[in-house]
Each structure stands twice: as structure tokens, then as C-alpha cells.
């Protein structure tokens, strides 16, 4: 009979983190950027049916990278959590902070006790009544949470993308300007991205609507990008 090999806990955690990071790095990135008209969620995604961006509740959006089946499970759990909370209390009592905590506990639980960690990174965005009130939470595979205020990128090349956003973003940018910035950031160091390969949605600050999440179709994105037929010059107006 062989004695099970002793693995120090530090090593075990390091191996798990390494495993999750590798899985996430393989996927394409997602950006979430604040604008005066609302919050833009944008991903490089050639599929028009397998979404990386989704609606959770009236003012809460979800964006994820990594393994589709894992973040889809988490997305559905989030919708269930939000709808149940809104049903048992009131729609106004569903907050991104509560949802983020539930996600963080779930991810941390899976990271330490399950056979393998979730290979996902998630952004939860909550639309405020003004741009200062917007909240962005970034959740990692191990359940760690960071609170971002203006913009966030997750996925394989998130550091380069964040650097682009950091350099060009400013308060009060229009939706068209952040769509152009998002495309430039996602395509950084690679080919320029076409509208067909982008998935985008906006949490729309326009008053009078209860559900603020609005998906942008390819035509909407093309319109916001300006003149995409001319290629990468399309964002010259930003």
C-alpha cells in the first residue's frame, strides 16, 4: 500500500490558482466601462448566442470570462438570487454588493473544497443614478473581490487592456466614445476588431425605464463606432 504523498497547503493553493489562471488566460477578455449615458459591458465574442454579458436585475449587469458552463451556472444562480430577493422584499432591495458577496463565498468555497476551482472571472456592475454612483466589482476564481469605480477588464490580457483604459478614460465620456475605447482596448496589440465579433450591452441611465439592461446589436455597435467600413480609422473621432 502506498502512503499518500504529502503536499503542503501553500503548494496546493498555488497549484489550484495556477490551474485557474491558465484556464482564464486562454479565453478572450471582457471590459466594463463607465460612461455618462450608462455602463458599457463589452466582450470579444464571435458567437451571437453564447453570451458573456447578461442582465441580472433592473440595474445590475454581469460579464464573465473563462469556462462557459461554469460562468453560465453562476449567472443563473445570480438571476435566481436577485429575483428571489426582489420577490421576498422589494425590487429596490436587490443590490450588487449583496450579490457580489454571495458570488465571493461561492467561488471561495469551490476554490478550497471542490476537486477543481472554477476557471472564471466575473464583473458585476450596478448602475447609479449618476456616474459617481456606479459600482463595479471584479471577482476572481478564488473569491477575492476588488471594488473598481470607473472601468475594469478581466480575462487573458486584462493587464494590457487595463493600461489602455487607464490612459484614455475620463469622467463624462459618451457611450460612443467608450464603445470606441472598448474596441481599441480589446484589440490592443492584435488585429482591429470588427463589430460582428463584438458583444456589447449597456446599463442605460435614461430615466423612465425599470429594466436598464439593453443589448446592442451589431448595427448599434457599428453605428456607435462611427464609420467601420473604413476599418480602424473608425474610432478617429473619439
Amino acid at each position: 500500500m502506498s502512503v499518500p504523498l504529502y503536499v503542503p497547503p501553500e503548494q496546493l493553493m498555488k497549484d489550484r490558482a495556477e490551474f485557474a489562471r491558465k484556464g482564464i488566460a486562454r479565453g478572450r477578455s471582457v471590459v466594463v466601462i463607465g460612461a455618462s449615458e450608462g455602463i458599457l459591458l463589452m466582450a470579444e465574442n464571435p458567437s451571437h448566442s453564447l453570451h458573456k454579458i447578461a442582465e441580472i436585475y433592473d440595474r445590475i449587469g454581469f460579464a464573465a470570462v473563462g469556462k462557459y458552463n461554469e460562468f453560465e451556472t453562476l449567472r443563473q444562480a445570480g438571476v435566481r438570487y436577485a429575483d428571489l430577493r426582489g420577490y421576498s422584499y422589494d425590487r429596490a432591495d436587490v443590490t450588487a454588493r449583496g450579490l457580489t458577496n454571495a458570488y465571493a463565498q461561492t467561488l471561495a468555497g469551490v476554490f478550497t473544497t471542490e476537486a477543481k476551482p472554477y476557471e472564471v472571472e466575473i464583473v458585476i456592475a450596478e448602475l447609479g443614478t449618476s456616474q459617481e454612483g456606479d459600482q463595479l466589482y471584479r471577482l476572481s476564481y478564488d473569491g477575492s473581490v476588488t471594488d473598481e469605480s470607473d472601468h475594469v477588464a478581466v480575462g487573458g490580457r486584462s493587464e494590457q487592456i487595463s493600461a489602455v483604459l487607464e490612459g484614455a478614460w475620463s469622467v463624462g465620456m459618451s457611450l460612443a466614445a467608450v464603445v470606441q475605447l472598448g474596441r481599441r482596448a480589446l484589440g490592443e496589440g492584435e488585429h482591429p476588431l470588427e463589430a460582428e465579433n463584438l458583444e456589447a450591452a449597456v446599463l442605460d441611465r435614461a430615466p423612465g425605464r425599470r429594466r436598464t439592461f439593453r443589448r446592442l446589436g451589431t448595427d448599434d455597435i457599428r453605428g456607435l463606432l462611427g464609420a467601420p467600413e473604413d476599418g480602424p480609422q473608425g474610432d478617429a473621432g473619439s
Binding site: L84, S88, A102, T106, G109, E114
Partner: protein, 274 residues
Amino acid sequence: MNETHTGFGPAYLSATTSSFTEFLGRARPDLVPQLTASVPGAELLAPHGTTIVALRDAEGVVMAGDRRATIGNLIASRTMQKVFQADSDSVMGIAGTAGLAIELVRLFQLELEHYEKIEGTTLSLEGKANRLSGMLRANLSLAMQGLTVVPLFAGVDSAVPGEPPQGRIFSFDVIGGKYEELEYHAVGSGSGFARGAIKKLWRPGLGRDAAIRVAIEALYDAADDDSATGGPDLPRRIFPVVYTVGAAGAARVDQGEVGRVSARVVTERTEEEQ
């Protein structure tokens, strides 16, 4: 799924259902609306909502309801809303025990929104009507105690793929039976009178404004003969709640417009009687 985690429980992570009520039954059965004990005479103590009418027009459907709720011979409310938007392109009206009816509306609206978010697509109109029928059947034990809820559901749908969308109306009985109505329908205590009025005024292909007028006249006639149905209340400016559904989706008709049409109906009836 391992039970030792905090965070989302197994009902959240492993459920494959797109139905909110089904999920609620699993995750929080205590929140599912139900009466655990039978309350003698409950049907006499709880407020009742009354007449709802719906009719097809050239663009889709119009649904309207009066504002009165009663407890026996007393008026419990003059301003109750009994017609609601179910989702972006369907509406529902409810007659019967008010508390249960409002809860059914809330749950049904959430059911449709939940499905839409989980599946990323909306249910077909027929699918929505079947779901409502299932939710009524789940309330059978309440119906047996006399606490009945009778909804009316309507929306636009293309019955044949490729055809232009048209208005469709579904009525239900207390045990969840679903029936499609081809022209118009009314539910609630004043429904007999309302249906009689619509029968004389309705014709195929009515315009939107004409259809709104027919709905308001029908409610006026119901209020004329049924004490549980409220007529247009001109001094307090309380008028029926009217929704239209067309190709552009469901929308509530502005109270100012309903007020003007109601006032015209009242004026014309007054002249007729003189």
C-alpha cells in the same frame, strides 16, 4: 454539490428549471403563497375585484378593468388596479379574491421576466398562457375554499409563422382550464352585462380609439347593473385602467385620454335619457 459551502446553495447552482415558482418551491418553500389552514368564511372577509373586459382590434387587443373592490355589500377600494402589464408585449387582468389575485400577478410577471433572463429569449404567447394555467392549478386548494382568482390574459402573436401578428385573448377557469377567445371576453361579477354590451358594439377590425371606447362603454354598462363594479367616477377623477397591446408592445392608455372618453360616454348617455 457539496453542502459545506457558504454562498449559493444547491438549489441555486444545480437547478435546471427556468421557472421562478418552481425554484421558489425548492429554495424557499415558505415563500410560496398558500394558506396552510382553512379559514372559515375567508371568501366573505377578503376583498373582491370585479369586472375586466378584453377585445381584439385592428392593431392587437385592448384590455380594461374598473377600479372597485368590495367586501360583501361594502366598497373596500375605489382605486384598485386590476389590469397589469405582464411583460413587454402581453397584459393580464384579474377578477376574484384581491389579495391572491395581486400575488398571482406579481408572481406571473416575475415568472415571465425570470424565464427571459435565464433563457435569453421570451416565451411564446401560448407558452405564457399555459404557464398561467399551471400556476392557477397549483392554487387549487385555495379555489376549493372559495378563494378564487379568474385571470384574463392577452397579447399579440403571429399564430402562423410569417403572418403579421394579431391580438389573442385567453380566458381561464378557477381550476386552470385555458380557453382561447376569438373576439372578446369579460370576467368578474359584471361580466355578463359587459359581454352583452360588447356584443352590440364590437365588430372586426375596430380602430384603437374605437376599441378603447367600446371597452369603457362595456364597463359603464356593467357598473349600471352590477353593484360590485365601479363606474367612471367623474368628481374624484377615477377612471378605468386601460391597456393596449399592438405591434410596438403593451402600453397603458394615459389617464387623461381615458378620462375624456369616459366623460364623453357619460355625457352621451345623459342626453339619451333626457
